[in-house]
Structure formats: structure tokens, C-alpha cells
């Protein structure tokens, strides 16, 4: 199996948000958020719309600077190639799949000597060999998202952040992406996935973090959380009741 990342230190937080607050348009969209992501395995972030899930990912990826609070990555997360982000809608360049991956290898700064071999590994891992030379934008949504995922893994990031990656995909494409996610996790990448899909959380997650109104409301191992939630907000959310 593809080994994507060297093994790190023990089961502590790979990244921690401490007391993070953020205002957007006069509203407090992140409100004293305390979030610790366990190293290794898959953590799912869940919550109603507007809870701040996507924002917290972007804060972790350093795309957004919070107004207050701190972001503490583990020492092993040193450069931009250590944290990768996959968006709900894949944004690929107007070139072939292969060229997209080559471009990513270049931007992430993978040494030239390693690029060729790495490209082969990536194509294998994503089962993209058959469509490697197709124009990336001509592919189906599911195929494009597979490329986006593999692209994110180009530089062997320690932390992979996924923002509702299968929300726009059909069940078959979703299954393919989930397979990739599991493979990556087995190879040692820590994964954080934002999802609305309780079934997906059940299939993938080791840990769950439940957000509401920009703050952490509940944190628990996945099996336990999905069976019985402690907080009323989480209970209402999973029961399908409207949350204000």
C-alpha cells in the first residue's frame, strides 16, 4: 500500500485552535472556538449551516487569519505543503490530469528528481492512469474530485482537510472518494472532513467534533457520538430538527 507520510509522534493533537474568534459582516461567525484535532485517523466536523465548519478548516489551512485566538500546529506541520485542502467543488486547471498533477508537484516544491516517480504513484493511488491524458475539465464531477484529492496528496501532507468533498456527487462517485480517504488515512495522513452526511461520518470517522454558532459543543469518539449525543443541539441536529 502506498505510504504517503512518515510516521509522526504519538496520539496528540496535530493541530489546535485555541479560543479562535472571527467576525464577518458584523456577525461573530467563530466564537471562542476551541478545537483540537487528534493526530492520525479521521475526524469529522459536523454541525448545522452557519456553524463555522468551513471557516474552521480555512483557519487551519491559514487561508483566513482569525481576529483573536491562536492556531497551533504541531511542530511537524512546518510548511504549506504539510496541510492540504480539498474544496467541495474541484477547481482544476485547463490542462490534462497529468499536467494538473505535475503543476501541483511544482508548486508544492517537490524536488525535480522525485517528480516523475511521484506522478506515477499518484496516478496509481487515484486509479487515474486511464484518464491521465484527458482534459481535466472534461471529466465528470466525481472524476474531477478524485483528481483534486490526489493533487492534494501530491506533497505527502501530514494533514488533509476536506470541505464536504462528496456533497455534489452521486453515490458511486462518493464511494470512490471515500475509498481514497480511507486509503490515505491508512497510509498515515491525518484527515479532517466536514460533512452533513451522518452515514458518511459513520463509515469514515474515528472522532467527531460538533460545532454550533461558531463554538465547539461536543467532542467524542465517532461510534459513541452517533449512537447517543450528549448535547441537545447535537441531538436536535441528528434528529433532523431545525436548529437556530
Amino acid at each position: 500500500m502506498l505510504r504517503l507520510v512518515a510516521s509522526g509522534p504519538g496520539p496528540e493533537a496535530v493541530i489546535r485552535l485555541e479560543d479562535v474568534s472571527l467576525r464577518r459582516g458584523g456577525r461573530r461567525v467563530l466564537d471562542g472556538l476551541n478545537l483540537a484535532i487528534p493526530e492520525g485517523g479521521i475526524t469529522a466536523i459536523m454541525g448545522p449551516n452557519g456553524a463555522g465548519k468551513s471557516l474552521s478548516l480555512r483557519v487551519m489551512a491559514r487561508l483566513i487569519t482569525p481576529d483573536s485566538g491562536s492556531v497551533q500546529p504541531a511542530g511537524t506541520l512546518s510548511g504549506p505543503q504539510d496541510i492540504a485542502l480539498v474544496f467541495q467543488k474541484p477547481v482544476l486547471l485547463r490542462r490534462s490530469v497529468r499536467a494538473n498533477l505535475r503543476h501541483a508537484l511544482g508548486v508544492y516544491g517537490v524536488p525535480r528528481r522525485q517528480r516523475r516517480a511521484r506522478l506515477g504513484e499518484l496516478l496509481d493511488f487515484g486509479r487515474l492512469a486511464a484518464i491521465a491524458d484527458a482534459p481535466a475539465r472534461a471529466l465528470s464531477g466525481g472524476e474531477q474530485q478524485r483528481v483534486a484529492m490526489v493533487r492534494a496528496l501530491a506533497a505527502r501532507p501530514r494533514l488533509l482537510l476536506l470541505d464536504e468533498p462528496t456533497a455534489s456527487l452521486d453515490p458511486q462517485a462518493t464511494a470512490a472518494i471515500e475509498t481514497l480517504i480511507l486509503d490515505a488515512a491508512h497510509a498515515g495522513t491525518t484527515i479532517v472532513i466536514v460533512t452533513h452526511d451522518r452515514g458518511q461520518a459513520g463509515r469514515l470517522a474515528d472522532h467527531i467534533r460538533f460545532l454550533h454558532k461558531g463554538a465547539l459543543v461536543e467532542a467524542a469518539p465517532a461510534a459513541q457520538f452517533l449512537l447517543a449525543q450528549k448535547s441537545p443541539e447535537a441531538q436536535a441536529y441528528l434528529a433532523g430538527r431545525l436548529l437556530l
Binding site: A61, L63, L85, V91, L93, R94, V107, Y108, A136, A138
Partner: protein
């Protein structure tokens, strides 16, 4: 007044007869304009990308300036370049006045703002699309510019054509800095001006028709290249 029929007849006669003077003039027109367009792209593409993606003081003012320079009157550009290259001017020692090189310089100055302004718009639109993705990959400004320029290559081809069209059609700049010297700096547009001043209107219009055919051929060529490139690129 001679009729349009005479003009078409003149054009036909010139083309079919492969008039030696015509071939020479067409060759020089192409050499000057294509060279100027290539140079303008070499300057204008990165400049436009920088204006789209860069963050530096005076960026807004520079953008306004580049847009305004699109409207530079060719005759004014010719005058300025003449003053620079004249023996009495700062670069007179180069002896470039009344040479095709001077014409290329003038046309490059004329065309670069168009290419830069159009590139800026193309790259800015692409940046809106790719901004988050490229930033999340840790791409610096230089990498972003290069990525966006290549991604927008089809639209940039059209921008280059726009610049080339302007250069091919102008007469004011090349007339002043080239001098319309027979066998040396006479191009299609200055030849048309000459024949007009000789009252040879049918011939002048005939040359104009040949110029239009030339422009059509060049555009068709680039369009063909675009189509085959588009097939490679995207949905």
C-alpha cells in the same frame, strides 16, 4: 471617381500577377507587425498578469494608465519615437530612424497597452476562479501569474490578435518613423497612403483589399490554432 469595380480588379491583378513590389510590401508589413506583436506580448502578458494579481501601491493608477494608453493615437506614437530616434534626439547615435527596426519599436509601443489591458482582465477573471485553490497550495505571486497566464492561453491568443490587428492597420506611426521609403520602409498602409496622394484611388483601394485578405488569413490561422488547442484544454 473610379468605381469599386476598378478596385477589385486592381486587387485581383496584383494578387494573381504576384506583383514583385506587392510581395515585398506584404512581406515587410508582416515582418514589422508580427515582430511588434510578439514583442508586445512578451512585455504585455507579464505586465497584465502583474496588474491583475499583484498587490502594490499605485496598482490602480497604473491600471488606469495602461487602459488609457490603449487609445494612443498612432501618429502621436510615431512623433514621440521620431523625436527619440532622430539624430538630434537622445538615441540618434543608434541610427535607427527610417529603418524597419524603428517601425517595429513604434508599433510595439502602440500595441503593448492593448495586450496588457486585455491580459489584465483575462487573468483577473481567472484569478477569481483559482484564487483560493492556488493559495491553499501555497503558490506565490509568481507561480500564480504563470499558472493563470497558461490557463488563459486561448483568450490571450485573441488578445494578441487584437493587438496585431491594430498594428497591421495603422499608418501614422510607421509613416513618420519609417519615411515610407521605397524598397526599405514601405508597408501596405503607407503604400495605400502614397497611392491615394497620387490620386490612384483604385490601386489604393485594391491594396486595401489585399490588406484585408491578409488580415483575414492571419485571423483564420490563429482561429484554427485556437480550435485545436481548445480541444486539448477544457470542457
Amino acid at each position: 471617381m473610379q468605381g469599386f469595380g476598378d478596385a477589385f480588379a486592381a486587387a485581383f491583378g496584383l494578387i494573381v500577377g504576384l506583383d514583385a513590389d506587392l510581395v515585398e510590401i506584404v512581406g515587410l508589413s508582416l515582418a514589422v507587425t508580427l515582430s511588434a506583436t510578439v514583442l508586445a506580448c512578451l512585455i504585455g502578458f507579464p505586465l497584465g498578469a502583474l496588474l491583475a494579481v499583484g498587490r502594490f501601491p499605485l496598482r490602480g493608477a497604473l491600471t488606469v494608465l495602461v487602459n488609457a494608453l490603449m487609445g494612443l493615437p498612432p501618429v502621436v506614437v510615431g512623433l514621440v519615437v521620431y523625436l527619440l530616434l532622430s539624430r538630434a534626439g537622445p538615441m540618434g547615435a543608434l541610427g535607427l530612424l527610417y529603418t524597419p527596426t524603428a517601425m517595429i519599436i513604434a508599433q510595439t509601443i502602440l500595441v503593448t497597452p492593448i495586450i496588457a489591458a486585455l491580459t489584465r482582465q483575462i487573468v483577473a477573471d481567472l484569478d477569481a476562479e483559482y484564487h483560493e485553490t492556488l493559495r491553499s497550495m501555497g503558490a506565490g505571486a509568481g507561480a500564480r501569474m504563470a499558472t493563470l497566464l497558461w490557463d488563459g492561453r486561448l483568450a490571450l491568443m485573441t488578445a494578441a490578435l487584437a493587438g496585431m490587428g491594430r498594428a497591421l492597420a495603422e499608418v501614422g506611426a510607421v509613416m513618420i518613423v519609417g519615411g515610407n521609403i521605397d524598397h526599405v520602409t514601405r508597408v501596405m498602409t503607407t503604400a495605400i497612403a502614397l497611392e491615394t496622394s497620387r490620386g490612384e484611388l483604385a490601386l489604393a483601394l485594391g491594396l486595401g483589399i489585399v490588406l484585408m485578405i491578409l488580415s483575414l488569413a492571419l485571423n483564420a490561422l490563429v482561429m484554427g490554432a485556437r480550435v485545436s488547442a481548445a480541444r486539448m484544454a477544457h470542457a
